[in-house]
């Protein structure tokens, strides 16, 4: 893990979300599904964000402005700087046959980079509105549905699922496609195992998602 102060290259609106592009500097983009801790202006704690895209010399993060930290990140102007720590955690295991990317809402965030690395496999994405679904443009080869249709209705059989989305979606994906890889989310203060804040129950034990995850193999 490495922490650098990086400059914002651009902050682009994608539906309700913002694609925050920062200068990469000496940071490694890591494996799809890994995440970075982004310093949120005027906030005490950084915010965990999985890498969305890794353009040349840049790192790009898809941010949903849901609270004071994420709103401050979305309001950053080109040329402003922020501390970036990462890559952190365990990403997706990439040597799988018949991969299918599954994303819900802001859970689409790690899928553009994952799609790029895997050579644009089939993706199914679910959103709560057409406005939110504008983020689907970041993922090639994607089928898109909007509520009340659920993304699990689009999952074909016999595929290895790599999914990210809200917890109810991941639970539903686990039921229709066992044996896949699921990227989970939890509040985190540090992202590197120090705070024990991101504990989730894994195999009956509370474990730190930042150390054991965020990508976990579904039973």
């Amino acid at each position: 893990m490495r922490r650098e102060r990086r400059k914002v290259v651009a902050n682009e609106k994608v539906g309700p979300y913002t694609l925050l592009r920062v200068d990469r500097g000496g940071l490694d983009p890591g494996i799809p599904g890994q995440f970075f801790m982004l310093e949120a202006p005027r906030r005490l704690l950084p915010r965990p964000m999985s890498l969305c895209l890794a353009p040349t010399r840049e790192l790009a993060f898809l941010v949903d402005p849901i609270g004071p930290g994420t709103r401050a990140l979305c309001a950053l102007e080109p040329g402003e700087s922020l501390a970036v720590l990462g890559p952190l955690g365990n990403g997706f295991q990439l040597d799988v046959e018949r991969p299918l990317l599954v994303g819900g809402g802001i859970g689409v965030a790690p899928l553009p980079y994952l799609s790029e690395v895997l050579g644009a496999p089939l993706a199914v994405l679910g959103f709560r509105s057409d406005w939110h679904a504008e983020a689907a443009a970041l993922v090639p080869n994607a089928q898109v549905c909007v509520e009340p249709t659920l993304v699990t209705q689009l999952v074909p059989e016999g595929m290895h699922v790599l999914a990210c989305g809200p917890e109810p979606m991941l639970e539903a994906v686990r039921r229709v496609a066992p044996g896949g890889q699921l990227a989970w989310e939890a509040p985190m203060a540090c992202g590197y195992g120090a705070c024990y804040g991101c504990a989730v129950e894994i195999d009956g034990e509370l474990k730190r998602l930042c150390v054991e995850g965020p990508v976990l193999h579904a039973a």
Binding site: R3, E39, L45, A194, Y196, L206
Partner: protein
């Protein structure tokens, strides 16, 4: 000496951060393994952060057989924080650690705001633990008492070698949307900038009352904060919440501290020690 506050660093997942400190303080170890409290465990507020981890730890058996041997390899002195729900549990833990050459000191966590308090007072716990070990004993106290200097004096009389000041103080955050507690267990321990003036007052009062060595902690985020704690009477300073956002903080803070000392014409930290008392030391304490 720069340390981490207990529970704010895992030296095994971040060994380089541990090596940038002068000593590593473990997360509190209890007699039995504990999963800790149910999520959600952390929340940010406008003035600090709340946590309710609930002393998640592997228990003393696994700590001694698995964790301590790995910590010993880091080459950083290890302070072990211990916690329990009765004085004899602290004594048992201290007795188990007494023969461990790799343990430099023991911190008695008698003040976790996220679990049930022990039945006995801090002084009773210190006295019982004192009989069980020859190791240095540091009593970690809560500032949420009417007179922390009185607690500190009692801890000294019971045999504490030093004081760790302060633990977090209980706070509550409500979810903006639901107006329900943001943390799963309800309230949690408040740390970060909001704690600094409270911690400084505790260090100042306890130094005057006891003269014991003190590890000062609470909202330390830069070199000037370290200097303030030392001026208030601390001989060591521990970093907590700042490590979450900035694992490079120890290195940065040492550089800032050196510049701060130079700017004020102070030769070293020793010269700054207890400066805040130079005009008040003559006042007798009650």
């Amino acid at each position: 000496m720069l340390l981490n506050a207990s529970g704010c660093l895992d030296a095994l997942t971040a060994p380089d951060v541990a090596r940038s400190l002068d000593a590593f303080v473990t997360k509190t170890v209890t007699p039995e393994p504990r999963d800790g409290n149910a999520p959600v465990r952390i929340a940010e507020t406008d003035v600090g952060m709340l946590n309710s981890i609930g002393l998640a730890n592997p228990g003393i058996d696994r700590f001694l057989s698995r964790t301590l041997p790995q910590l010993a390899k880091l080459g950083v002195p290890v302070w072990v924080s211990v916690g329990g729900f009765a004085a004899d549990e602290y004594a048992e833990l201290c007795s188990r650690l007494d023969d461990e050459a790799d343990v430099a000191a023991i911190e008695l966590n008698v003040s976790c705001p996220n679990v049930e308090s022990p039945a006995q007072s801090a002084a009773q716990i210190v006295a019982t633990a004192r009989l069980a070990t020859r190791k240095q004993l540091w009593a970690k106290l809560s500032p949420a008492v009417p007179d922390i200097a009185e607690v500190a004096n009692a801890a000294r009389a019971a045999g504490a070698d030093g004081l760790s000041l302060v633990n977090t103080i209980r706070g509550l955050k409500l979810d903006d949307r639901t107006l329900e507690p943001a943390l799963g267990p309800g309230a949690g321990g408040l740390s970060g900038p909001a704690l600094k003036p409270i911690a400084l007052a505790a260090v100042h009062a306890c130094y005057r009352a006891t003269g014991l060595p003190i590890v000062g902690m609470g909202g330390v985020s830069n070199g000037r904060d370290v200097l303030e704690f030392v001026a208030a009477g601390a001989c060591h300073v521990a970093l907590g919440t700042v490590l979450f956002g900035d694992p490079d903080a120890p290195t940065r803070i040492r550089i800032e501290l050196a510049a701060e000392l130079e700017r004020r014409g102070l030769r070293d930290l020793d010269e700054a020690h207890a400066l805040a008392h130079s005009s008040v030391l003559a006042i007798p304490t009650t």
